[in-house]
Point group: C2
């Protein structure tokens, strides 16, 4: 039925692909050139709506794309066959675990080379050219190796899967197909196959049949909510990925509900709201938060995905009988499973069911005003040496609504987790995948995606920063201006808290961090802070130096850890040998 003959007016496969990516919201593509993707890179450079961002290596490119996708809703990273794509795998696996919609495109040997099983460089030498595609199948929601006959259908299928599931996908693009005309089944390329902005079709207004899950949900949730006094909305990462934050804030405010978050939900809802109860992390929670969540009459779970970390070592205790468990494409209420219900539909129903109580009182807000009171109640001795505590008091006070805050896996994550955030802060962390080094490229991706450009702060440990440091140069090249706080505490302090406290394997090579920004050509301003006063001065200067990268080295004791990490680490250490 379709137009199966290429003609002069037919776009090339790469143009079809790039137009589809632009329609899905990609304004930048990240990656590293390699001889199997050069022809495609020429097409990227020629495309009117997409800019190429060249990274220093492929893992960093995948990390930067992940940060971009978290803000933008979609990102693309391009690598070359074998060496490039396998280097990026950890970054894509992270997007899989954290539910971030990233498309990875590998430039691969020509169709003819693959079909004949020829041995080429970057290959394994056994004539099998699908080793890497199979590795990618383990950590993606959809994959395809494009062919002339099926390119359009495969591009559509993989993109739709990514945008719907919010997980990464993989395309192999053989080099000979780049400029080959695309064979498009009807109705042709002009018809919008993907709604703009990366929204999958499933969030379109539902028809009559599609109302059934919503009705079932309302019927099951209604009795639970009627008469419930303390209702907690407990938010995890999937709520943010499916962009339900504003709808959640509205629901919480309408019903005077209590909000709380798991690690992955940091920043998803407005934490400055008076009834925000803090971070729930099982037995490791602050007592008031734990009470608020575990003693609630009803817990509305938004995309909860439990693991050892966010459950406080599997110590979360939420009674299943009072849980309304809402997932991206289904919900569970007690024994009632409701497949096919979207988060948006569930929230629509909840907003109908929830009413403000007649006799409202504000007193139930467990951790209310925690953020501001902390700073006020504990005036700092500014000449004192910095500690994790005082560092995070200062970072907390520095944050403004709408900032991007990236916190490296390690001590930084746990410092950030304990903050009560201003409204609209985008939090870039990996509480599930937990790959150290990720946040340095990711904060750049997140800032690049923000328009107008949002102020961006990265707090990262020295061991983590060593993993991916070369990407500072890329961030500068793209004209980004994050405030980068490197915590110099002589190694893997997060590991020391778990095991090997004095072991030399947790040491790292001491670097001269003050030279790093200049060595990597960043043009950043550079400061060093050992005391509270020095940090205050550095942050003040950072504000004044807006518009260029700012780099602050903070000197902390090797064994100092945030209180919450100390608790989590004991649980991890116990589990590792059981």
């Amino acid at each position: 039925m379709g137009n199966l003959n290429g003609s002069c007016s037919t776009p090339s496969i790469s143009r079809y692909l790039l137009d589809s990516l632009a329609a899905a919201g990609a304004r930048h593509i990240f990656g590293v050139p390699g001889d199997f993707n050069l022809a495609f890179l020429d097409e990227i450079e020629a495309h009117p709506d997409i800019q190429w961002v060249g990274n220093a290596n492929e893992l960093n490119a995948a990390y930067m794309a992940d940060g971009y996708a978290r803000v933008n809703g979609f990102a693309v990273v391009v690598t070359t066959y074998g060496v490039g794509e396998l280097s990026a795998l950890n970054g894509i696996a992270g997007a899989y675990a954290e539910h971030v919609p990233v498309l990875h495109i590998a430039g691969t040997p020509s169709t003819d080379t693959q079909r004949r099983g020829l041995s080429v460089h970057h290959g394994t030498g056994d004539g099998d050219h699908e080793h890497y595609l199979r590795a990618y199948r383990e950590v993606t929601c959809a994959t395809a190796s494009l062919t002339e006959a099926t390119a359009a259908a495969d591009i559509d299928r993989v993109l739709a899967a990514i945008l719907t599931s919010k997980q990464p996908g993989y395309l192999a693009l053989p080099s000979d197909l780049v400029r080959r005309p695309v064979l498009i089944p009807a109705p042709g390329p002009a018809a919008p196959r993907l709604p703009a902005g990366g929204q999958p079709a499933s969030v379109e207004p539902a028809g009559a049949d599609e109302r059934a899950p919503a009705q079932l949900f309302a019927a099951a949730a209604g009795p639970l909510l009627r008469g419930a006094r303390d209702v907690v909305v407990l938010v995890d990462a999937l709520a943010r990925r499916h962009e339900r934050g504003p709808q959640l804030d509205k629901l919480i405010r309408k019903g005077h509900l209590t909000g709380a978050v798991l690690l992955g939900g940091k920043g998803a809802i407005d934490e400055s709201y008076e009834r925000f109860a803090g971070l729930y992390i099982g037995a490791h929670s602050e007592p008031a938060t734990r009470l608020a969540v575990e003693n609630a009459d009803v817990v509305i779970g938004m995309g909860l995905a439990w693991n050892d970390l966010n459950s406080g070592g599997f110590t979360a205790r939420i009674d299943g009988a009072k849980l309304i468990d809402i997932q991206p494409f289904g919900a569970t209420i007690g024994a009632v499973g409701i497949p096919g219900l979207t988060m948006a539909q569930a929230l629509d129903e909840l907003s109908r069911l929830v009413e403000p109580p007649a006799d409202d009182e504000v007193a139930t807000a467990a951790a209310g005003e925690q953020h501001h009171s902390e700073a006020a109640a504990d005036p700092l001795e500014t000449q004192a040496l910095l500690s994790q505590d005082t560092l995070w008091q200062r970072i907390g006070a520095f944050l403004r609504p709408g900032d991007i805050l990236a916190a490296g896996q390690g001590t930084a994550l746990w410092g950030a987790a304990a903050q009560r955030l201003p409204a609209g802060v985008e939090v870039i962390i990996q509480p599930t995948w937990s790959s150290i080094g990720y946040t340095l490229p990711a904060v750049g991706g997140a800032q690049l995606a923000s328009a107008p450009r949002r102020r961006s702060i990265l707090v990262i440990g020295d061991g983590a920063a060593q993993m991916t440091v070369q990407e500072l140069g890329t961030l500068a090249r793209e004209g980004l201006d994050p405030i980068i706080v490197v915590v110099n505490n002589s190694g893997y302090t997060v590991e020391r808290a778990i095991g090997g406290r004095t072991a030399s394997y947790n040491d790292i090579q001491p670097w001269n961090w003050q030279l790093i920004p200049a060595a990597l050509g960043t043009g950043a301003t550079v400061a060093s802070a050992a005391t509270v006063a020095q940090l205050d001065a550095a942050l003040e200067r950072a504000v004044a130096d807006d518009g260029r990268m700012r780099f602050i080295e903070v000197l902390l004791d090797r064994d100092d850890v945030p209180a919450m990490l100390a608790r989590a680490a004991r649980a991890l250490a116990a589990r590792s040998v059981e």
Copy 2:
């Protein structure tokens, strides 16, 4: 039959593993700590014969292990579940493609966690804990996830496969098994299961039955060699991996044969021998080399593994009727296949069959004295700006017998490939896998493995060095003293030669290379060279500064490429769009 009950005197699984690694020749283990491997790292630090080398990231650790294994015959790299192991995958895949015996050990969640399908950080969240093991299956010769019951047998099996095939293997070590007693089948741990030095059992003296392949080989090769006037021995990487260099040199000298190499054979035989004919790379060879190989009466191929690069874009032309094709575990002569024949056996037979010709003449040595004559015939204008040509004349003249020479994928590889090397130079390149950035960590691994420590020179492009630069700190921490020559030519010149000559995607962020060694805490001496005289002075000073790292930035024109790369690049560009 075996001792299946752990007792006080029974070693732990980790001790059994570490003793086996030490017996296979590992004196160092590379890697990065992570919470799933910390208990194992404690055992490594406690082991009397093994030292831990902490890397800045896991890909670099795998690269450094690869370099170590090329000199040492075996290497081990340890990472943590998910984030660590996937970061290392490109490095292990490189070892697979290049036939380098590296064992990768991932610390994984406890047996109980995996059995129950619990969701943990670094996991994908779907209860399946074997995603990463399956990814590794694609690029390793053997894998196992250890269990209490099968640990000893699996360790033995995976190690034997690695040492026999000279390809990498993978072990997953659940954290709870580290200190569990090993259950060993008879005859017990004291019996040597692996011969020292990493030699597989197959190179032991052959019994009567095992003589059959050798006899068949002699019967087939004898008639071909008798009366042959020009016999060329053409050497590729597998001959080096199976440590057949000395035996090959002896054969070549005994028979007054001509030696030649593919890219992977650089350094495997003595290139200073008068009958060395140079690098064969199909139609891209020097004319004299091409004649010597293609017009020979007999070509003895040693571990030839052809691909697009080493065949000059599939232009190699060697008549199958006159080829004695010797592979690690079999040979082919015309229509006769001889499975089970080792390289050592084949060389033993050849040394019996080959006799020096009665009327020998030296004139057939095609490229004889090329190395020395080049420098003599073409006196350099020392105030001239450096070019790829003059850089490599100088590096060539600088090399001494026994040096380690690492040449980064890119222009450096092709400069090194054209050199006629002094005897016994170990060449660290990746002509098959071709991963840029590999050589910077790898040269450190190679030098660390050499005892007494060999002088080591790395030539690497700026784009490649940016990929893995943080490992300079690790090399310094291990007290290594390579001479590092970074070719600053403003980006991916090797890619420019293939496609996108003026495209911005081949640019990189300009770094201040002079600051890099100090920023990374290396204590290296630093020099910069734009002219021949400056390079001469820098190399002279490097010799004087023996014992510490030396860093030389060489400034070259963005589009200058070695002549052989220009030819190869044209072939690659043509193939990429066909």
